[in-house]
């Protein structure tokens, strides 16, 4: 069987599975729609959270990014996992005890203010749409390469599936579908990683192979070999990177704090039955995430070595283009790889200096990896299914946050408080449907800035939600004036910096012009500090919060009496 038939078969089967689960788990009430009834087992919830978290970017792009960045790639590895420690220790148990449905719920109630709630709703919707546009694009890319349909058809197909199970099943449908998607995407990631690890180093476990010696009998460690090749080809050493220490520090912190402030992640901890489960669930989520995140840097190393050896040849003289392996020509069609014969010797050559003749998109490092390593057709098809699963699971989680923000935070809690549960559910479904369509539109006509706005999403979450929630739990004296001015100033500071360097004057975005040498990707950390500082000052100049709010803060600090997530 050829790759295409395998791909149709495996991707098709995975779709049947997702739809089956969705029909079995449809939501009957707003509580089931928003928080899956609040009765999800912590391990199941951890797995669903992991699938929700690992997006098309984690699955498709991350290993590729690390492959090109070397040591600097650690900002993503530590940034996107370290946030879970903050979540588990500082947020999840308290928010679960608080026991409502959404982040704006908490902000609105804790700061006894509709203004605060509205600011939170707007941030939540903006962050989620930013994210979801990228996911739909990911679905499109996978479909167009592996099923050989055009990107638009691919996005439509993805939309239809997400529409079906998100609108029908709500959080309940999504949670159980995500468990299946986690299994698919993990298999798709690990199978090729293990194959390649065995081929290159002889180790079954990629995490060990990463530090081991090469299996070619040379006795050289993989990482030393990569450092050597990097020096030879004019790249920075693989294990040292090029970013300044302060920038690496700030980017890592911004991603960690941003992770802990992302609404679609936080809402996950409202779905478990107890406070105890919320703590445990964050731990399980991180285990499931860590499996991929510790494999990714190994894949990055293997893929880089493989790619350089294939293109430059074992003797580093370049491979004849006419003898190029099929993956080069396959991926050339998608525009993700390109060759320009500058010195007209008919050979391909890849390097970090003027000898370079290749244009290689980082995304193909994972997608083409099985082809580069010459793995069987079914493995390649599995990777396609994994990419689609990663993109679908994340978009579904995000769409749910958007629809909840609209039906619950905006309508029920703000504009029309008297609607019945049934009506609210209907609004939630309609909002999800509209959100799917907008996301699909953004996937087909991606605004040129999708890649840039990811920094935005994390910076925004780090500089707005995170300080407001932390202060709300750990500082009883914090009042609405402090929280609102803090959120707004953190947000404005971060947004101005990013907009200036990314959109208004991208040419000026060089380390010499950055404040303290911090790039726009890391500025959320500074925005967070601004938020904390402003909030602390303003809160001391204004009256303390009312007694009932202080009592509420007392009561979320210990687990007893959490019960189920409250319907208001």
């Amino acid at each position: 069987m050829d790759i295409r038939i395998w791909t149709f078969l495996i991707v098709g089967l995975s779709f049947v599975l997702y739809i089956g689960i969705a029909i079995y788990c449809r939501a009957g009430s707003t509580k089931e729609f928003y928080v899956a009834g609040g009765g999800v087992h912590p391990v199941v919830n951890g797995m669903a959270t992991a699938a929700d978290w690992m997006s098309a970017a984690s699955f498709i792009s991350m290993a590729g990014l690390i492959s090109f960045m070397g040591y600097d790639g650690a900002v993503y590895l530590m940034g996107w996992t370290g946030g879970y420690v903050l979540l588990a220790l500082c947020l999840a148990p308290y928010l679960r005890k608080f026991g409502k449905f959404t982040v704006p719920d908490f902000i609105g109630d804790r700061y006894y203010s509709q203004t605060a709630r509205t600011v939170a709703v707007i941030c939540a919707i903006f962050v989620s749409f930013t994210y979801v546009a990228g996911q739909m694009r990911g679905v499109g890319v996978v479909f167009s390469r592996f099923l050989e349909v055009d990107i638009t058809t691919g996005v439509f197909l993805g939309m239809a599936i997400v529409f079906f199970y998100a609108v029908l099943g709500g959080m309940k449908g999504i949670t159980y579908t995500q468990v299946a998607q986690y299994c698919v995407l993990m298999m798709a990631y690990l199978v090729p990683a293990i194959f390649i690890s065995i081929m290159i180093t002889g180790h079954v476990i990629p995490q060990f192979g990463f530090g081991a010696t090469l299996a070619d009998g040379s006795g050289v460690h993989l990482l030393d070999k990569l450092d050597g090749l990097s020096a030879e080809l004019g790249f920075a050493a693989y294990t040292s990177g090029t970013k300044s220490t302060i920038d690496v520090l700030f980017i890592t912190a911004a991603l960690m704090v941003g992770t802990a402030g992302l609404p679609h992640v936080i809402v996950r901890f409202f779905t478990v039955p107890k406070v105890k489960d919320a703590r445990k669930s964050a731990g399980w989520a991180l285990i499931f995430i860590a499996v991929l995140y510790t494999t990714a840097p190994a894949v990055a190393g293997f893929a880089r070595l493989n790619m350089i050896n294939t293109i430059n040849g074992a003797d580093s003289q370049g491979t004849e283009y006419s003898e190029a392996p099929t993956w080069v020509t396959n991926w050339e069609k998608t525009g993700l790889i390109g060759w320009e014969d500058k010195n007209e010797d008919g050979r391909m050559f890849y390097s970090g200096d003027e000898r370079n003749e290749m244009h290689i998109d980082r995304d193909i490092m994972v997608l083409a990896n099985p082809e580069i390593a010459d793995l069987p057709a079914w493995v390649i098809a599995l990777v396609a299914a994994g990419g689609v699963a990663a993109a679908l699971s994340t978009s579904a989680g995000l769409l749910l946050v958007i629809s909840t923000s609209i039906s619950h935070d905006l309508l029920k809690r703000n504009l029309m408080p008297n609607i019945s549960d049934k009506m609210e559910l209907r609004y939630a479904r309609s909002a999800a449907a509209v959100a799917v369509c907008i996301a699909g539109y953004l996937g087909i006509n991606p605004p040129g800035f999708v890649a840039q706005v990811v920094a935005f999403a994390f910076g925004l979450a780090a500089s707005s939600f995170f300080p407001a929630i932390i202060l709300g739990i750990f500082y009883k004296r914090m009042n609405k004036y402090g929280a609102i001015t803090g959120m707004v100033s953190g947000l404005l500071f971060t947004a101005t910096y990013i907009v200036y360097f990314k959109f208004i004057n991208p040419a000026a975005s060089v380390p010499e012009n950055w404040w303290f040498g911090v790039s726009p990707e890391g500025i959320g950390t500074l925005g967070m500090i601004v938020n904390f500082a402003v909030a602390a000052v303003v809160c001391h100049l204004t009256p303390p919060p009312p007694q009932d709010v202080q009592d509420m803060v007392e009561s979320i600090r210990y687990p007893q009496g959490a019960g189920e997530a409250q319907v208001h």
Binding site: Y71, L77, M78, T81, P93, L223, K276, G283, R557, P559
Partner: protein, 88 residues
Amino acid sequence: MAFHSKELAKAYWRENVKLLLSLLFIWALVSFGFGIILVDVLNQIQFFGFKLGFWFAQQGSIYTFVVLIFVYVYKMNRLDEKYDVQED
């Protein structure tokens, strides 16, 4: 109030915050400390074929994070029982 007295509530919270801070210290030490600030120093040390600083940045910190959360879960459950504020 679920605590038997106000003092107990305060003591519980103090212990909780102390645990948080000590775990967050380790969290910051392995990531920001070993993985970033001290990376060049630790890279002098070889660790199963890795340079140690590089290993912390791309592998070790993640393993530590997982352990930290489960230590927290275990210790908090004990603390809840000590002050009799665990869930039914």
